[in-house]
Protein backbone atom coordinates (compact mmCIF):
# COMPACT_ATOMS: atom_id res chain seq x y z
CA UNK A 1 0.00 0.00 0.00
CA UNK A 2 2.74 2.46 0.92
CA UNK A 3 4.38 1.64 -2.44
CA UNK A 4 1.28 2.67 -4.36
CA UNK A 5 1.01 5.86 -2.28
CA UNK A 6 4.67 6.62 -3.03
CA UNK A 7 3.97 6.12 -6.74
CA UNK A 8 0.93 8.41 -6.56
CA UNK A 9 3.09 11.01 -4.83
CA UNK A 10 5.70 10.71 -7.59
CA UNK A 11 3.05 11.13 -10.29
CA UNK A 12 1.56 14.17 -8.54
CA UNK A 13 5.03 15.72 -8.30
CA UNK A 14 5.64 14.99 -11.99
CA UNK A 15 2.40 16.80 -12.87
CA UNK A 16 3.51 19.68 -10.64
CA UNK A 17 6.96 20.02 -12.32
CA UNK A 18 5.41 19.77 -15.78
CA UNK A 19 2.74 22.36 -14.95
CA UNK A 20 5.10 24.77 -13.21
CA UNK A 21 7.32 24.86 -16.30
CA UNK A 22 4.56 26.83 -18.09
CA UNK A 23 4.33 29.50 -15.37
CA UNK A 24 6.73 32.38 -16.05
CA UNK A 25 8.78 32.49 -12.83
CA UNK A 26 12.20 33.32 -14.30
CA UNK A 27 15.03 31.70 -12.35
CA UNK A 28 12.50 30.33 -9.87
CA UNK A 29 11.35 27.77 -12.45
CA UNK A 30 14.66 25.93 -12.18
CA UNK A 31 14.66 26.27 -8.39
CA UNK A 32 11.13 24.81 -8.24
CA UNK A 33 12.07 21.98 -10.60
CA UNK A 34 15.17 21.08 -8.57
CA UNK A 35 13.22 21.19 -5.29
CA UNK A 36 10.56 18.87 -6.76
CA UNK A 37 13.27 16.54 -8.13
CA UNK A 38 14.89 16.36 -4.68
CA UNK A 39 11.50 15.55 -3.16
CA UNK A 40 10.95 12.78 -5.75
CA UNK A 41 14.44 11.37 -5.09
CA UNK A 42 13.71 11.41 -1.36
CA UNK A 43 10.43 9.52 -1.86
CA UNK A 44 12.21 6.88 -3.97
CA UNK A 45 15.12 6.55 -1.51
CA UNK A 46 13.00 6.40 1.64
CA UNK A 47 10.20 4.10 0.45
CA UNK A 48 11.31 2.20 -2.68
CA UNK A 49 14.93 1.83 -1.53
CA UNK A 50 13.82 1.01 2.03
CA UNK A 51 15.90 3.61 3.84
CA UNK A 52 12.91 3.98 6.16
CA UNK A 53 13.54 0.50 7.59
CA UNK A 54 17.33 0.55 7.09
CA UNK A 55 19.84 0.63 9.91
CA UNK A 56 22.43 3.33 10.56
CA UNK A 57 25.07 1.66 8.35
CA UNK A 58 22.93 1.73 5.19
CA UNK A 59 21.67 5.26 5.85
CA UNK A 60 25.24 6.47 6.26
CA UNK A 61 26.30 4.68 3.08
CA UNK A 62 23.42 6.38 1.24
CA UNK A 63 24.41 9.84 2.48
CA UNK A 64 28.18 9.53 2.12
CA UNK A 65 28.03 9.61 -1.69
CA UNK A 66 26.07 12.86 -1.60
CA UNK A 67 28.49 14.35 0.92
CA UNK A 68 31.45 13.42 -1.28
CA UNK A 69 29.76 14.82 -4.37
CA UNK A 70 29.06 18.08 -2.53
CA UNK A 71 32.76 18.32 -1.55
CA UNK A 72 33.90 17.74 -5.13
CA UNK A 73 31.35 20.25 -6.50
CA UNK A 74 32.43 22.84 -3.93
CA UNK A 75 36.15 22.38 -4.57
CA UNK A 76 35.67 22.38 -8.35
CA UNK A 77 33.67 25.56 -8.09
CA UNK A 78 36.48 27.35 -6.26
CA UNK A 79 38.41 26.82 -9.48
CA UNK A 80 35.78 27.57 -12.13
CA UNK A 81 34.17 30.35 -10.13
CA UNK A 82 37.29 32.37 -9.43
CA UNK A 83 39.33 32.12 -12.62
CA UNK A 84 38.94 33.51 -16.10
CA UNK A 85 38.73 30.81 -18.74
CA UNK A 86 41.27 31.30 -21.51
CA UNK A 87 40.19 28.97 -24.30
CA UNK A 88 42.68 27.84 -26.90
CA UNK A 89 42.32 29.65 -30.25
CA UNK A 90 40.95 26.52 -31.94
CA UNK A 91 38.29 25.74 -29.33
CA UNK A 92 34.96 27.44 -29.93
CA UNK A 93 33.31 28.62 -26.76
Amino acid sequence: MSYVLTWLGLMALLALTFGSAYLPMGPWNSATNMAISCLKALLIAVFFMHLRQAGALLRLAACIGLLWLALLFGLSWTDFGTRTLSPAPWSSR
Partner: protein, 196 residues
Protein backbone atom coordinates in the same frame (compact mmCIF):
# COMPACT_ATOMS: atom_id res chain seq x y z
CA UNK B 1 25.32 -22.45 1.15
CA UNK B 2 27.91 -21.55 3.75
CA UNK B 3 27.73 -18.32 5.64
CA UNK B 4 30.90 -18.84 7.62
CA UNK B 5 32.21 -15.28 7.41
CA UNK B 6 28.91 -13.90 8.68
CA UNK B 7 27.46 -14.19 12.17
CA UNK B 8 23.93 -14.58 10.88
CA UNK B 9 21.76 -14.52 7.77
CA UNK B 10 20.67 -11.00 8.75
CA UNK B 11 24.28 -9.84 8.84
CA UNK B 12 24.86 -11.44 5.46
CA UNK B 13 21.89 -9.62 3.98
CA UNK B 14 23.00 -6.30 5.43
CA UNK B 15 26.47 -6.85 3.94
CA UNK B 16 25.08 -7.30 0.43
CA UNK B 17 22.88 -4.22 0.74
CA UNK B 18 25.81 -2.22 2.08
CA UNK B 19 27.90 -3.38 -0.88
CA UNK B 20 25.28 -2.11 -3.32
CA UNK B 21 24.96 1.25 -1.55
CA UNK B 22 28.75 1.63 -1.69
CA UNK B 23 28.64 0.84 -5.42
CA UNK B 24 25.86 3.40 -5.91
CA UNK B 25 28.07 6.01 -4.21
CA UNK B 26 30.73 5.34 -6.87
CA UNK B 27 28.00 5.59 -9.54
CA UNK B 28 27.16 9.01 -8.17
CA UNK B 29 30.80 9.99 -8.68
CA UNK B 30 30.48 8.67 -12.26
CA UNK B 31 27.46 10.86 -13.08
CA UNK B 32 28.55 13.79 -10.88
CA UNK B 33 31.09 15.46 -13.20
CA UNK B 34 28.51 15.59 -16.01
CA UNK B 35 26.09 17.37 -13.68
CA UNK B 36 28.84 19.78 -12.71
CA UNK B 37 29.63 20.40 -16.37
CA UNK B 38 25.96 21.07 -17.03
CA UNK B 39 25.73 23.67 -14.25
CA UNK B 40 28.88 25.40 -15.43
CA UNK B 41 27.89 25.44 -19.12
CA UNK B 42 24.34 26.54 -18.42
CA UNK B 43 25.43 29.45 -16.20
CA UNK B 44 27.72 30.60 -19.01
CA UNK B 45 25.27 30.04 -21.90
CA UNK B 46 21.79 30.12 -20.47
CA UNK B 47 20.00 31.33 -23.62
CA UNK B 48 21.52 28.61 -25.81
CA UNK B 49 20.38 26.00 -23.28
CA UNK B 50 16.83 27.41 -23.33
CA UNK B 51 16.60 27.29 -27.13
CA UNK B 52 18.11 23.80 -27.14
CA UNK B 53 15.57 22.68 -24.56
CA UNK B 54 12.71 24.01 -26.70
CA UNK B 55 13.68 21.46 -29.39
CA UNK B 56 13.10 18.58 -26.95
CA UNK B 57 9.90 16.53 -27.31
CA UNK B 58 8.33 17.38 -23.99
CA UNK B 59 5.37 14.98 -24.34
CA UNK B 60 7.71 12.02 -24.93
CA UNK B 61 10.02 13.10 -22.11
CA UNK B 62 7.14 13.42 -19.65
CA UNK B 63 5.67 10.09 -20.72
CA UNK B 64 9.08 8.47 -20.28
CA UNK B 65 9.40 9.93 -16.78
CA UNK B 66 6.03 8.44 -15.86
CA UNK B 67 7.04 5.07 -17.37
CA UNK B 68 10.32 4.94 -15.46
CA UNK B 69 8.71 5.90 -12.15
CA UNK B 70 6.09 3.21 -12.72
CA UNK B 71 8.88 0.71 -13.39
CA UNK B 72 10.28 1.62 -9.97
CA UNK B 73 6.91 0.76 -8.44
CA UNK B 74 6.84 -2.65 -10.15
CA UNK B 75 10.48 -3.24 -9.10
CA UNK B 76 9.61 -2.43 -5.47
CA UNK B 77 6.67 -4.85 -5.73
CA UNK B 78 8.98 -7.51 -7.23
CA UNK B 79 11.32 -7.15 -4.22
CA UNK B 80 8.42 -7.44 -1.82
CA UNK B 81 7.06 -10.47 -3.69
CA UNK B 82 10.49 -12.14 -3.43
CA UNK B 83 10.67 -11.39 0.31
CA UNK B 84 7.30 -13.10 0.78
CA UNK B 85 7.84 -15.91 -1.75
CA UNK B 86 5.13 -14.26 -3.85
CA UNK B 87 4.65 -13.75 -7.61
CA UNK B 88 8.11 -12.24 -8.22
CA UNK B 89 8.17 -13.18 -11.90
CA UNK B 90 5.20 -11.07 -13.00
CA UNK B 91 6.56 -7.92 -11.39
CA UNK B 92 10.04 -8.53 -12.80
CA UNK B 93 8.61 -9.00 -16.29
CA UNK B 94 6.61 -5.77 -16.01
CA UNK B 95 9.69 -3.90 -14.77
CA UNK B 96 11.78 -5.10 -17.71
CA UNK B 97 8.99 -4.21 -20.17
CA UNK B 98 8.66 -0.68 -18.76
CA UNK B 99 12.46 -0.37 -19.00
CA UNK B 100 12.39 -1.47 -22.65
CA UNK B 101 9.53 0.94 -23.41
CA UNK B 102 11.57 3.78 -21.93
CA UNK B 103 14.61 2.83 -24.02
CA UNK B 104 12.50 2.60 -27.19
CA UNK B 105 10.99 6.05 -26.71
CA UNK B 106 14.38 7.50 -25.79
CA UNK B 107 15.98 6.01 -28.91
CA UNK B 108 13.25 7.46 -31.14
CA UNK B 109 13.85 10.88 -29.55
CA UNK B 110 17.59 10.61 -30.20
CA UNK B 111 16.90 9.88 -33.87
CA UNK B 112 14.47 12.80 -34.20
CA UNK B 113 16.87 15.24 -32.52
CA UNK B 114 19.96 14.16 -34.35
CA UNK B 115 19.55 16.49 -37.35
CA UNK B 116 19.09 19.49 -35.08
CA UNK B 117 22.03 18.44 -32.92
CA UNK B 118 24.34 18.02 -35.92
CA UNK B 119 23.55 21.55 -37.15
CA UNK B 120 23.89 23.20 -33.71
CA UNK B 121 26.84 25.46 -32.96
CA UNK B 122 28.28 27.23 -29.93
CA UNK B 123 26.30 26.97 -26.72
CA UNK B 124 23.56 24.92 -28.34
CA UNK B 125 26.12 22.37 -29.52
CA UNK B 126 27.28 22.13 -25.90
CA UNK B 127 23.68 21.62 -24.80
CA UNK B 128 23.29 18.73 -27.25
CA UNK B 129 26.65 17.29 -26.24
CA UNK B 130 25.57 17.19 -22.60
CA UNK B 131 22.11 15.91 -23.58
CA UNK B 132 23.47 12.96 -25.57
CA UNK B 133 26.24 12.24 -23.04
CA UNK B 134 23.99 12.31 -19.97
CA UNK B 135 20.90 10.59 -21.37
CA UNK B 136 23.26 8.17 -23.15
CA UNK B 137 25.09 7.23 -19.95
CA UNK B 138 21.71 6.90 -18.26
CA UNK B 139 20.44 4.61 -21.05
CA UNK B 140 23.57 2.43 -20.79
CA UNK B 141 22.80 1.96 -17.10
CA UNK B 142 19.17 1.20 -17.83
CA UNK B 143 20.15 -1.34 -20.49
CA UNK B 144 22.31 -3.12 -17.92
CA UNK B 145 19.37 -2.87 -15.50
CA UNK B 146 17.01 -4.54 -17.99
CA UNK B 147 19.59 -7.29 -18.52
CA UNK B 148 19.87 -7.85 -14.76
CA UNK B 149 16.09 -7.95 -14.32
CA UNK B 150 15.80 -10.41 -17.22
CA UNK B 151 18.43 -12.58 -15.51
CA UNK B 152 16.50 -12.43 -12.23
CA UNK B 153 13.33 -13.38 -14.12
CA UNK B 154 15.10 -16.41 -15.57
CA UNK B 155 16.21 -17.62 -12.13
CA UNK B 156 13.19 -16.37 -10.20
CA UNK B 157 12.46 -19.85 -8.84
CA UNK B 158 15.60 -19.65 -6.67
CA UNK B 159 14.30 -16.72 -4.65
CA UNK B 160 12.26 -17.16 -1.52
CA UNK B 161 11.56 -15.53 1.82
CA UNK B 162 14.88 -17.05 3.03
CA UNK B 163 17.03 -16.03 0.04
CA UNK B 164 16.25 -12.96 -2.05
CA UNK B 165 19.33 -10.71 -1.76
CA UNK B 166 19.94 -10.57 -5.56
CA UNK B 167 16.44 -9.19 -6.16
CA UNK B 168 16.79 -6.67 -3.35
CA UNK B 169 20.21 -5.49 -4.47
CA UNK B 170 19.14 -5.18 -8.13
CA UNK B 171 16.12 -3.19 -6.95
CA UNK B 172 18.44 -0.62 -5.35
CA UNK B 173 20.33 -0.29 -8.64
CA UNK B 174 17.09 0.11 -10.61
CA UNK B 175 15.78 2.84 -8.29
CA UNK B 176 19.11 4.66 -8.53
CA UNK B 177 18.71 4.85 -12.32
CA UNK B 178 15.21 6.24 -11.77
CA UNK B 179 16.59 8.93 -9.42
CA UNK B 180 19.15 10.01 -12.03
CA UNK B 181 16.39 10.44 -14.62
CA UNK B 182 14.25 12.40 -12.14
CA UNK B 183 16.99 15.09 -12.30
CA UNK B 184 17.73 14.80 -16.03
CA UNK B 185 14.08 15.39 -16.98
CA UNK B 186 13.72 19.03 -15.78
CA UNK B 187 17.34 19.83 -16.77
CA UNK B 188 16.76 19.10 -20.44
CA UNK B 189 13.03 19.28 -21.10
CA UNK B 190 11.61 22.05 -18.93
CA UNK B 191 13.74 25.17 -19.49
CA UNK B 192 11.50 28.25 -19.85
CA UNK B 193 8.69 26.27 -21.42
CA UNK B 194 6.39 29.30 -21.07
CA UNK B 195 8.42 30.99 -23.84
CA UNK B 196 8.38 28.04 -26.21
Amino acid sequence: MTTSQFGSALERREASLFGMWAFLATELMFFGPLFFGYVHARLAQHDAFVSGSHHMHIALGTLNTAILMTSSLTMALAVRAAQRSGPTRIWLALTALFGLAFLGIKASEWVMEFGEAARAAGGEARFYFLYYAMTGLHAVHLTIGVGVVAWLWLYAKRFSAEYHAPVEVSGLYWHFIDVVWVFLYPMFYLLERYNA
